[in-house]
């Protein structure tokens, strides 16, 4: 398992996670299109390498379906962060958890 913190440290990789949260199960082509629309002009090769880092950290899953490959968000590695540094429910907005 790769480093979740390192994976999250890059703004392009965070943007990829945002886009996958918006719509799960995207091809590389769709992710590149969405990044371009955000003003992130990374090459397809660079985006593919960012997805490799996210996959190694367990934050992105690649699913081969027939001849296509789809990417999905997996936020479960983030649980380790709140387990390590617990969030006090009393400190939440409006006192709600």
């Amino acid at each position: 398992m790769g480093d979740v913190f390192k994976a999250l440290a890059d703004p392009t990789r965070r943007a990829l996670l945002d886009e996958l949260q918006d719509r799960d199960g995207q091809t590389l082509f769709e992710l590149c299109t969405r990044l371009l629309h955000r003003g992130v002009s990374s090459s397809r090769q660079a985006v593919s390498q960012h997805l490799d880092v996210l996959e190694q950290a367990g934050l992105v899953r690649r699913r081969r379906e027939g001849r296509y490959t789809f990417h999905s968000l997996d936020t479960s590695p983030l649980r380790a962060i709140t387990e390590r540094w617990r969030i006090d429910p009393e400190e939440g907005p409006c006192g709600s958890p």
Binding site: L28, F29, T33, Y68
Partner: protein, 130 residues
């Protein structure tokens, strides 16, 4: 110099002719037997004298790996223009067409990507009139 033809590389010309006419709604323009394959083109019924799409046999050994690599990454090599991507996607989905990208609006442009069953991904796009 003018552009009057564009091509898609298809696995099977007969299957492609059926998909491009019966499902997409283009009409056959020319068909000339050429040995094992045919010179086969379709046009849009909205522009019968417009650009012809050649259903080109993808028999060269370099073609299958090229097409497979594009499809794996979801890349459409060919794009057609439609008035309403959402309506067209709904119509095609009802006919059993598989989309790898559902309609996606990016500013004024909306696109979607589907599988032409002949080894290609095709993009449909709508751009509102200025």
């Amino acid at each position: 110099m003018r552009i009057t033809l564009t091509s898609v590389l298809v696995d099977d010309q007969e299957k492609a002719l059926r998909f491009y006419t019966e499902v997409l709604g283009f009409v056959k323009k020319t068909e000339v037997p050429l040995g094992e394959h045919r010179w086969l083109t379709v046009v849009s019924p909205d522009a019968p004298d417009g650009v012809e799409l050649v259903l080109e046999p993808g028999a060269h050994p370099a073609v299958p790996p090229f097409k497979e690599a594009l499809v794996a990454d979801g890349i459409p090599f060919t794009s057609f223009t439609v008035d309403d991507v959402h309506a067209e996607a709904e119509r095609l989905r009802a006919l059993g067409v598989r989309f790898t990208q559902e309609p996606l609006a990016m500013g004024p442009v909306t696109t979607a990507v589907f599988d032409d069953t002949c080894g290609n991904l095709i993009q449909i796009a709508s751009v509102p009139a200025a």
